[in-house]
C-alpha cells in the first residue's frame, strides 16, 4: 500500500483512524472509512479510471456524485462482480477490489482506442448509412464486430450469491434528499409528530452541507448538521434512510426506493440482504434532491483532470483530498469561485480563474488577487490537453489572445441543473426559467412539492426556508397541526450569478480540431449534434435517438442540456423552443435483483401442496408443476426406471383392481341460497333445476364469447346448496367469474359462494375393487351398495368413526369410481386408511400421468381440449346446450361461423402401424396431400399409451370430425421428425357402453 500523496493533512469527514486497503486494476492502495472509491483514487493520485464507449478515450473522474459518466468500474469479483459501478458513489470498504473496463489489454494502453483514428467516419448514426452490402454480411461480419465492441462492463453471469428483499412503508411525508432543504423539512414535520421518512442516496446525510464551508443559525454547518440529525433520530416516527435512492414516482403517491443495505461491506452480514427494494406510500412528499452541476463543451473537455468545480471542492472539503496541485477554474458564474477559494484554503495552487463573464466585477478581481490566481474575465478555455492526464489548458482571453497554462486540474462550472427527475416521471414537463438559466419543475404530480435547489432556489437560505415551509404546507393539507414545527433554520444567501456558456468554439487544433464532448460516456460530440441538426433530426427525441445523446448509464444528467443548447443554437431557436429535457425512471440505475426481492429460484412463485403431499412423498412420488400446484405425477416402484412402465402399471391397476389418486387440487366452490339452482342455470350450458338432492351432474360453462371456459361436476347437497368442482387450472378464474355473474350481472339473485378448496382433501378411488376398498374406510352405517349409492350419488358420509366426509360416485376413468373428501387435516390419514383397506386387492396409488391415460382412454376432454379456442360443439358436447334458458355464452356460441361443419371437432386417433408413437401437437394432413397450411385439417390435442390396448391412442380436433371415423390421415409433426398414418376413430377407446362404471 502506497502513501496517499493527494490526501490533505487534516479536515474532511473521513475517519482517519480507520485505514482501509483496496485494489484497483490489481494494484493496492490505501484509503479511509468515509471515502468513496473515487475520493480514495484521487487521494492516491490515480486520475485515469476508465475508457469511453466508442472511441475508448481515456477518462477520469468528472463528478463526486451519481451523475458520473466516466469513472465506471467493475466492482468486486466472481459472482459478485458489479459492472458499470460509479466510483463516485461506491463507498470504500476494506478489501474492495475494482478493475477498469472497456479496455484491452490495459487501461493505460488500450488498443481499441485505435477506434479514435477512424472517428472521422464513426459519426452519429454512421451505421444507418452503411453495412448494407452484401445483405448477408450484416449478421455474419459487420454486426459481430459491432457486438464485440458493445457494452462497457462485464456482468457476472453466475448466480448472484446474495439475497434481496422487498419492503413496504407508509408515511405522512416522504422527504427525498437529506441536504439542507430535506433536513429542514424533516425537522419541521418530525417535530409535529407526523410520520416522516427521509431518504438520501448518500451514505451520509447532509447533502451539500457535507461539502460546503458555511454557517447555519450562526454555527458551522457540521455542528448544525450533527444537532439536526440527533434531533431527528430522537423522534419516534421519523425514519432516516441513508444509502436509499428514491428512484421513481408512480401513481397515487407510490415511490420506489432501493436501500443499499450491505454494499458498503465486503459481503452482507448473515441474514441481511444485499439490497432492499422499498415501495413507499406517501400522503405527501417533498423532493429536495438538490442539483447537478453542468460542464462546458470544449475541445479536450474529457481529459482526466477536467472536473466539475463543485466536485473539486467536495473532494477537498468532504474527503480531505486535494483534487489537483495546480488548478485552473473555468466558470460561467459565481458558484465556481467557491471552489477556487476552498482549493486555495486546502493548500492547492490556483493558477488561473477563467470567468467567461465579460463584466469585470472588482470584488472578483480582489478575490483572484488574494488567491494569487490570474483572472481571465471574459475568457474561455478553448482546449484541454494531456491524453491520460491533464497537463495544459489553452485559455483565450477577452481580447482573443491565447495563453497556454500548465495545470493538473481544470475545475469547470456552468451553473446547476435542478435534480427534478421525479417530477417528470408522470409525464410532467419541466419549464425553462430564463432568470436562472435552467429547467425547473413544471406541473407537479399530485402530492409532491419541490424544495431548494431541486426547484431552482439555489441558495442555502432559500433551501432551508423552502424545506420548512413546504413541510408545514404538506401537513396542513393533511389536516395535521404544525404548531410544533419549530423555527426555520437561518443562513446567509451566497451569490449565484450566472451567464451560462454551453460550448467553446473557434479554437485552433494542430491537425484535427480536438473533439469536444457533450455526452462523455457515449462519445457524442458537438459535431454530432451539428450533424443531427444538418440532417433534420431536430426534435429533441430525434436528436437523442440519432446521436445516442443521454442514453448512457448517466441518462444525460451531465449532457442533455448542453446537447439541447447546441441544437438550439444550430437551429436559431431558444432552448425551450428546441425542446425540454425529461427523465424517465429510474433516477439512477437499479439492480434487477433488488426489484426481484425474495422471489427467485424455488421462491419465484408460491407453491401449493395438497394435504396428501407428505404421504405421496413417502411413497416416492415424482412431482410435477401444474400451475401453482405440485402434484404427484407417478409413483415409481424400486427397480422401475422407465416412467412409462410405471404409468402402465398404475393404469392397469385401476382397470383391474383399484387405484387412488389425489384430486384435492380441483377447485371446490360452495354455492348456497334460495336462487342457487337458478344461478347455476345461468352459468352452465345445461340444466340444474331438476337435479335431485344427493346427486352430481357434469357441467360445462362458457365464456360470454361462446367458447368453453371450464367443466366439472357439481353436486346438489341440499335444496339450496350445491358444491361445484372446477378444473385445477381454472379454480381461481371460475370463482372470480361466478362473483362477477352474481355481483355485476344478477345482483338480485339470492346466492352466495365461497371457495372450500382448501377445506377438503379429496381422493379418487377407482377400479373394480373401489367399493370394497371404500367399505373398509367409510363407517359401516352408510350403505354403499349399487342400489343405495348409485352412479352419480353425492352424499355426506362419515369415516373413521364419525369424521364428516363426502362421497361422490363419479368417474373420470370409466371405472367404478368414487371421490372421497375429508377435512384436509385428515387427508394424510385417509390415504393411509385407503391403502390399508385396499391392500388385499393390491391397491395402487397413481398420479397425474395415469389419470391422463385413463381419461384419454375414455375420451373425456381436459385442459388440452379446453384450450379457450374450442366450443361445446367442437368438443362433441353441443347436445348439452340447453335451448330453454339463457346462459352465459349462449348467443355468441350460436354465431354461424362457430357452427360451420369445417370447424375441427373432437374424435379419437390410433396409429395405423400400432407400434408407432403418437405426439400431441401433430397436425393432420390428408393422405397424399402436400404438407401445407391449406391442407392443415386440425391437430392432436392429447395422447397416451394405452396399456389396455397396448398401443398409443390420441384425441384431437379435425375438420369433419366424427363423420370421418375410419378414415386415415397423416399425423404430421415435423418439429419432432414425425409423419405417420393414423386412423380416425371414436374418442372412446374403452367400454363405450359404460358397463364398467357400474362395477
Amino acid at each position: 500500500m502506497s502513501a496517499q500523496p493527494f490526501r490533505l493533512a487534516s479536515g474532511g469527514l473521513i475517519d482517519r483512524s480507520q485505514a482501509l486497503s483496496f485494489r484497483f486494476d490489481g494494484k493496492s492502495y490505501g484509503g479511509h472509512a468515509g471515502d468513496t472509491l473515487a475520493s480514495a483514487l484521487l487521494a492516491n493520485g490515480v486520475r485515469l479510471v476508465g475508457r469511453s464507449f466508442k472511441y475508448h478515450r481515456p477518462r477520469g473522474i468528472l463528478s463526486a456524485g451519481p451523475e458520473e459518466p466516466n469513472a465506471l468500474v467493475e466492482l468486486r469479483s466472481g459472482a459478485r462482480r458489479e459492472p458499470n459501478t460509479r466510483a463516485t458513489v461506491a463507498e470504500l470498504f476494506d478489501g474492495l477490489e475494482a478493475v477498469s473496463q472497456n479496455r484491452w489489454p490495459s487501461l493505460a494502453f488500450d488498443l481499441l482506442s485505435l477506434n479514435g483514428l477512424f472517428s472521422p467516419a464513426l459519426v452519429a448514426g454512421f451505421y444507418y448509412k452503411t453495412f448494407m452490402w452484401p445483405a448477408s454480411f450484416w449478421e455474419k461480419l459487420y454486426e459481430p464486430l459491432i457486438r464485440r465492441a458493445a457494452g462497457l462492463g462485464r456482468a457476472a453471469g453466475a448466480e448472484d450469491p446474495d439475497h434481496y428483499e422487498k419492503a413496504f412503508a407508509f408515511c405522512d411525508l416522504l422527504v427525498i434528499g437529506g441536504g439542507p432543504a430535506g433536513l429542514a423539512a424533516a425537522l419541521a414535520a418530525g417535530r409535529t409528530g407526523a410520520r416522516v421518512i427521509l431518504c438520501d442516496e448518500d451514505f451520509r446525510l447532509g447533502g451539500r452541507l457535507l461539502a460546503e464551508k458555511r454557517e447555519i443559525d450562526g454555527r458551522p454547518v457540521a455542528e448544525w448538521l450533527a444537532a439536526a440529525l440527533a434531533e431527528l433520530e430522537s423522534l419516534p416516527d421519523v425514519r432516516l434512510m441513508p444509502r436509499t435512492t428514491v428512484f421513481g414516482l408512480y401513481d397515487h403517491g407510490t415511490y420506489g426506493a432501493v436501500e443499499r443495505v450491505s454494499d458498503h461491506l465486503p459481503q452482507p452480514q448473515p441474514h441481511q440482504p444485499r439490497q432492499r427494494a422499498w415501495r413507499i406510500q406517501a400522503k405527501r412528499a417533498i423532493l429536495a434532491a438538490g442539483a447537478l452541476e453542468r460542464p462546458i463543451v470544449f475541445p479536450g473537455n474529457d481529459t482526466p483532470g477536467v472536473m466539475l468545480a463543485g466536485a473539486a471542492r467536495t473532494y477537498a472539503n468532504r474527503y480531505g483530498v486535494l483534487p489537483g496541485r495546480e488548478t485552473v477554474l473555468f466558470t460561467a458564474g459565481d458558484d465556481g469561485w467557491a471552489t477556487a477559494r476552498d482549493i486555495a484554503a486546502a493548500g492547492g495552487k490556483v493558477a488561473a480563474i477563467v470567468d467567461a463573464r465579460a463584466d469585470a466585477d472588482p470584488a472578483r478581481k480582489a478575490l483572484a488577487d488574494r488567491l494569487g490566481a490570474r483572472l481571465f474575465a471574459g475568457g474561455v478555455v478553448e482546449r484541454a490537453r494531456g491524453g491520460r492526464q491533464l497537463d495544459q489548458v489553452t485559455i483565450r482571453d477577452a481580447s482573443g489572445a491565447t495563453h497556454a497554462l500548465a495545470c493538473d486540474l481544470l475545475a469547470v462550472s456552468n451553473g446547476w441543473n435542478p435534480t427534478l427527475h421525479l417530477t417528470s416521471h408522470q409525464n410532467g414537463k419541466p419549464v425553462w426559467d430564463e432568470e436562472i438559466h435552467c429547467f425547473v419543475p413544471g406541473t407537479l404530480p399530485a402530492g409532491l412539492a419541490v424544495a431548494g435547489s431541486a426547484a431552482g432556489r439555489f441558495t442555502l437560505a432559500t433551501a432551508l426556508e423552502d424545506g420548512a415551509r413546504l413541510a408545514r404546507e404538506a401537513l396542513g393539507d393533511l389536516g395535521l397541526s404544525v404548531a410544533a414545527a419549530g423555527p426555520v433554520p437561518a443562513a446567509d444567501d451566497e451569490p449565484c450569478g450566472l451567464k451560462p456558456l454551453w460550448r467553446v468554439t473557434g479554437g485552433k487544433g494542430p491537425v484535427f480540431p480536438g473533439k469536444a464532448f457533450v455526452d462523455f460516456q457515449n462519445d457524442v460530440t458537438d459535431a454530432d449534434v451539428e450533424l443531427a441538426a444538418r440532417e433534420g433530426f431536430r426534435p429533441v427525441e430525434h436528436l437523442k435517438r440519432y446521436t445516442t445523446l443521454g442514453m448512457a448509464t448517466d441518462q444525460g444528467k451531465t449532457s442533455n442540456l448542453s446537447g439541447l443548447a447546441i441544437m438550439a443554437e444550430q437551429t436559431g431557436r431558444t432552448i425551450p423552443q428546441a425542446g425540454t429535457t425529461t427523465f424517465r425512471p429510474p433516477y439512477t440505475p437499479v439492480a434487477i435483483g433488488a426489484l426481484g426481492g425474495h422471489h427467485r429460484g424455488k421462491a419465484f412463485r408460491p407453491v401449493r401442496l395438497a394435504p396428501t403431499h407428505g404421504w405421496s412423498s413417502e411413497q416416492g412420488a415424482v412431482f410435477v408443476e401444474t400451475g401453482q400446484w405440485l402434484r404427484a405425477q407417478y409413483y415409481p416402484k424400486p427397480g422401475e426406471t422407465d416412467w412409462l412402465a410405471t404409468v402402465n402399471r398404475e393404469v392397469l391397476a385401476v382397470r383391474e383392481t383399484v387405484g387412488i389418486c389425489d384430486v384435492s387440487t380441483l377447485g371446490k366452490i360452495d354455492i348456497q341460497g334460495a336462487d342457487a339452482a337458478a344461478f347455476l342455470e345461468r352459468v352452465y350450458i345445461n340444466g340444474w333445476k331438476a337435479l335431485p338432492v344427493g346427486k352430481a351432474r357434469y357441467g360445462l360453462m362458457l365464456r360470454e364469447d361462446g367458447f368453453v371456459m371450464d367443466d366439472g361436476t357439481t353436486s346438489r347437497l341440499g335444496e339450496h346448496h350445491f358444491l361445484m368442482t372446477t378444473t385445477t387450472a381454472n379454480a381461481g378464474k371460475v370463482m372470480q367469474h361466478l362473483e362477477f355473474c352474481h355481483q355485476v350481472l344478477w345482483p338480485d339473485l339470492d346466492v352466495g359462494m365461497v371457495s372450500v378448496s382448501e377445506q377438503w382433501a379429496q381422493v379418487t378411488v377407482a377400479g373394480p375393487k373401489a367399493r370394497k376398498t371404500l367399505r373398509g374406510v367409510v363407517d359401516p352405517e352408510h350403505d354403499l351398495s349399487n342400489e343405495a349409492f348409485p352412479y352419480l350419488a353425492a352424499r355426506a358420509v362419515t369415516v373413521g368413526g364419525g369424521i364428516p366426509a363426502r362421497l361422490f360416485r363419479i368417474s373420470f376413468s370409466g371405472e367404478l369410481a368414487y371421490e372421497l373428501a375429508v377435512p384436509a387435516g385428515y387427508g394424510d390419514a385417509m390415504m393411509r386408511a385407503l391403502m390399508q383397506a385396499g391392500a388385499p386387492f393390491g391397491i395402487t396409488p397413481y398420479g397425474t400421468e395415469a389419470l391422463g391415460v385413463l381419461r384419454i382412454e375414455k375420451g373425456h376432454v381436459a385442459g388440452n381440449e379446453l384450450s379457450g379456442q374450442t366450443t361445446a360443439r367442437d368438443l362433441g358436447l353441443g347436445k348439452m346446450m340447453s335451448s330453454k334458458k339463457d346462459y352465459v355464452g349462449r348467443l355468441m356460441a350460436n354465431r354461424a361461423a362457430l357452427n360451420e361443419p369445417e370447424r375441427p371437432s373432437f374424435v379419437g386417433f390410433k396409429p395405423v402401424d400400432r407400434r408407432e408413437r403418437l405426439r400431441a401437437g401433430a397436425h393432420f394432413i390428408g393422405v397424399g396431400k402436400a404438407a401445407t397450411m391449406a391442407n392443415d385439417e386440425g391437430y392432436m390435442t392429447s395422447v397416451a399409451h394405452s396399456p389396455h390396448l397396448n398401443h398409443w391412442i390420441g384425441l384431437g380436433l379435425i375438420r369433419g370430425g366424427s363423420a370421418r371415423i375410419g378414415e386415415q390421415v397423416r399425423a404430421y409433426d415435423p418439429v419432432r421428425g414425425g409423419d405417420i398414418l393414423v386412423e380416425i376413430c371414436s374418442p372412446v377407446f374403452l367400454d363405450p357402453e359404460g358397463a364398467r362404471l357400474h362395477g
Binding site: H599, P606, A674, P823, Y826
Partner: protein, 205 residues
C-alpha cells in the same frame, strides 16, 4: 373396517415449521406461535338477512358481528369481517363446529373451513419490521388499531390478519393463510424474520 385410532389429523404446519429458533442468535425480535385446533367457518348472510344473523350470533355467542374489517372476540369465539355480509367465525374448540354450523345455517350460508387455513400468532419488538417485507398495508398503530382486520396479499399469496392487544414482548398479530400455501408463506416469513431472530413455539388458541 377402519380403525379409528388411525385417523389422526395432521397439522397444517407439519413438516413446515417446528418449535425452536432461527435467524440472528440472541435477538428474539419475533415470536411465532403455531396455532392449532381452532374451528373455523365462513358465513354469508342472505340478502337482507344480515341483521337476523347478527342477532343470532349475539344471542348464541355474545358477539356483535362487525360491519367493517374488524375482529370481535369473546371467551371462546371470534367473528372476523371478511367481506360485505360475510364473516369468518372462529371457535377455540373445533369440536363444537358441527353444532354451531347447524345452528347458524338457518341464518346464513355456512361452510366449514376448520381445515382450510394455517394460522400463526406473531409478536415481538421487530414484528412490524418483519411483516413490512411483504404486507402491503399500513400496520402502524395509528393506522391499524387493535381489533382491525384485513384480507390482503403477502408475497403473492392471500392472507387474513388482525391486530391483537400488544403483548409484553411487543405488538401482536394473528395471520391466516390457505393451508396449501403454508409452506410458501413460511419460506417468506422465515426469510423476513431471520435478521431479527425468531422463536417458534407450539400453541393452542
Amino acid at each position: 373396517m377402519a380403525e379409528t385410532a388411525q385417523w389422526t389429523p395432521r397439522s397444517a404446519w407439519a413438516g413446515i415449521a417446528q418449535p425452536g429458533t432461527f435467524g440472528a442468535a440472541g435477538r428474539g425480535g419475533v415470536t411465532a406461535t403455531l396455532l392449532e385446533g381452532h374451528g373455523l367457518a365462513s358465513l354469508i348472510a342472505a340478502p337482507g338477512g344480515a341483521e337476523a344473523l347478527a342477532r343470532r350470533v349475539e344471542q348464541s355467542l355474545g358477539l356483535a358481528l362487525p360491519t367493517a374489517p374488524r375482529i370481535v372476540s369473546g371467551a371462546g369465539h371470534d367473528v372476523i369481517w371478511s367481506g360485505p355480509d360475510q364473516w369468518l367465525l372462529r371457535a377455540r374448540s373445533r369440536g363444537e363446529m358441527p353444532s354451531l354450523i347447524a345452528e347458524l345455517a338457518r341464518y346464513a350460508a355456512v361452510s366449514d373451513q376448520s381445515d382450510a387455513r394455517a394460522a400463526l400468532r406473531l409478536s415481538g419488538p421487530h414484528l412490524r419490521d418483519a411483516l413490512a417485507k411483504g404486507v402491503m398495508i399500513d400496520l402502524h398503530p395509528a393506522a391499524f388499531a387493535v381489533g382491525d382486520a384485513a384480507a390482503t396479499s403477502v408475497a403473492h399469496l392471500g392472507v387474513q390478519l388482525w391486530r391483537l392487544p400488544d403483548a409484553a414482548e411487543g405488538p401482536a398479530f394473528e395471520i391466516m393463510v390457505a393451508r396449501s400455501l403454508a409452506g410458501s408463506f413460511w419460506s417468506w416469513f422465515a426469510a423476513s424474520a431471520a435478521e431479527f431472530g425468531c422463536r417458534v413455539v407450539a400453541g393452542r388458541g
